[in-house]
Symmetry: C2
Subunit: 375 residues, 2 copies
């Protein structure tokens, strides 16, 4: 069987057949639970790490992934490998955590890699780009495709390595103070939206605004901006955007499955015993899967509550999506000319995306379509 | 933050604030990687488990999940907790592994719980039932909804506990020797299909057949059966069904996201140190997510290869799906009258399904629809 990127390659694989021969008689016919008390053959090393998160505690699903991760490592190591979590701003500014890992202020960080496109646009490929992979497709690329391998090569330039740790699923297309039903309604709209999505929105005639999360509500209320994007029902409801904007668009074509990352400094990683590397590896997948499950489980009720208090759902106009797709293709082609890191990884990603979409058209989409029709 | 079922509740949560106070001075400003050599405070217990799989080694993605799980535990425990894997038939018959865990012949098993509906139909709710949750929705129910809690109550009757460990995603609707385009084409068809799906197919006029995997190819070739269902492109191609049946239907409305289970005997579980419980918990999620990633990554190419060698794709006729859905509702209502275990868990599951489908109609479906349209 081909090994996936999820399988830690360090550490020798347990030889099943050898054990089989040695233990067949003793173990046959009953539970061979604990062997008789054997002398200590391995003492666990004490390790202390600090994790800088880009997120505030109020985003409990996203911020909480770091807690889930640290708890899993703490418990598996019997309290010997402890990771303390610092919310965005506690140790350093939310978007400084990549630097914090690189300059070894902290051993690791939990962040969204697309915050760092100012350093290199390639970082976005470790999170999402407009019209990107959905959450499962992204796992497929990272764990069994070339994603993890290519991105680890890229991150090694920053003396760190990456682990997927969380995903929100397809996000909502944002809150609008007025109904937007055609591409014309987007012209001149002041919308809080950043990164690649902001650049593409600009091509659609939108005036993108860059505002920290804490300032959005007031800007919407005062009418300084006409619209904002955030995450999805569960998170958006907490910020109360429904009280100052009536229309909630879907989907966010710019966030079809944004993945969060655990970034670990090479020096800290290399100093870990191999058993702790294995714990980090499994605990990161554990926290990754747990976050997606939380969003999927909690978004439905939050959306119902929003609708019950008057929020109007509107589909993103198809022509807007078609135009945005075309602009995105131009943007990516342009980046491939200028940035060799991007070119290499994006080429692999783009081929993978096409294959995934072709396959999802068959079983997954038709199943989901029927369930939507029937229920 | 509400705790999810993924978070191991045993073991005390690390007190971040306390550590912060104690270590703030020493750790500030640099990587506090390994502390200075400290005396051994914890020696790891040696544990040997045997895992009986229901699957043959040839199904490398499904069978392999047990290897991924055992490797992760082995490495995290520094080789002190070793789990030997036995393929279906090696220690016991593939469908006897639940009994094997219950009577303590083995400590754990990897299986599909719907194999055991002869004991209690409720087992199917730990895998899938026709028109069930997709893979992500199922994770949401298990990890953040009531799924795990309810199923663990159920499994405690069998002296074991369950962990999700693998999913195939939406399966394909099977191989047919003749084109089937309307509900009439299904009447009298001899199809290899079992369980609830077989019962529902019977309601559609199909004559369901029960055949072990190894006998299907020959039965199709000889014309003893007209059709069979199996898994999806990656697995089906290995068995060569495309050589003896020309039409490949999609989707399998009876397997919208079947989940495999790791079943662990209570006695073996209770004997584990809490650190090993945490390792099992994270390693099971690790193997769970890894299997889905493998299927998603490998199915697209396999499907292309099948099509290139002449396989014809056909959609499952919509009226067949509508009729099957109606029969399934009757079947489930009937079970709810007869089986109190089923009634309790199915009621929770059914409400969760409706909420999930309502939510997926919004962002996820519209995003996927656009990607299918555009690429």
């Amino acid at each position: 069987m081909k090994k996936t990127n999820l399988e830690v390659s360090s550490g020798s694989k347990y030889k099943r057949r050898d054990f089989l021969k040695k233990s067949a008689i003793g173990a046959a016919g009953g539970v061979a639970a604990l062997s008789i008390a054997s002398p200590a053959i391995h003492a666990q090393t004490k390790v202390r790490w600090r994790l800088a998160s880009s997120f505030p505690k109020s985003l409990d699903t996203i911020f909480g992934a770091a807690d889930v991760f640290a708890d899993a490592v703490n418990q598996a190591s019997n309290g010997n490998f402890k990771i303390s979590i610092f919310a965005g701003g506690e140790l350093m500014k939310p978007f400084d955590v990549l630097d914090g890992v690189q300059d070894e202020t902290v051993e690791c960080a939990h962040t969204a890699a697309y915050y760092y496109i100012g350093k290199d646009e390639t970082f976005a490929l470790d999170c999402t780009i407009p019209f990107g992979l959905n959450a499962r497709q992204r796992n497929a690329w990272m764990y069994d495709g070339n994603g993890m391998k290519l991105l680890r090569e890229f991150y090694s330039n920053y003396k760190m390595l990456n682990f997927p740790m969380g995903n929100t699923g397809v996000q909502m297309g944002g809150w609008f103070k007025r109904a937007v039903r055609t591409e014309k309604d987007f012209k001149g709209l002041k919308m809080r939206i950043a990164g690649f999505a902001g650049r593409i929105m600009q091509g659609l005639g939108v005036v993108p605004q860059n505002l920290p999360g804490g300032e959005i509500y007031q800007a919407l209320e005062k009418g300084t901006i006409d619209a904002t994007e955030w995450v999805g029902p569960y998170d958006d409801k907490k910020l109360g955007f429904n009280k100052v904007a009536g229309y909630y668009l879907y989907p966010a074509w710019w966030e079809g499955g944004p993945q969060l990352s655990l970034l670990v400094g090479k020096k800290a990683w290399n100093a870990l015993p191999s058993s702790y590397k294995a714990m980090v590896n499994s605990a990161a997948v554990h926290a990754h899967t747990d976050m997606m499950a939380k969003y999927d489980s909690r978004n439905p009720r939050a959306l119902k509550e929003l609708i019950a208090t008057g929020t109007k759902l509107l589909p993103m106009p198809k022509q807007v999506m078609i135009n945005a797709f075309e602009i995105s293709q131009g943007l990516y082609a342009d980046l491939s000319k200028k940035n060799s890191n991007w070119r290499k990884i994006h080429a692999d990603w783009e081929k993978f995306r096409k294959d995934q979409v072709d396959w999802w058209k068959v079983a997954e989409k038709n199943y989901q379509d029927f369930m939507s029709y029937q229920l």
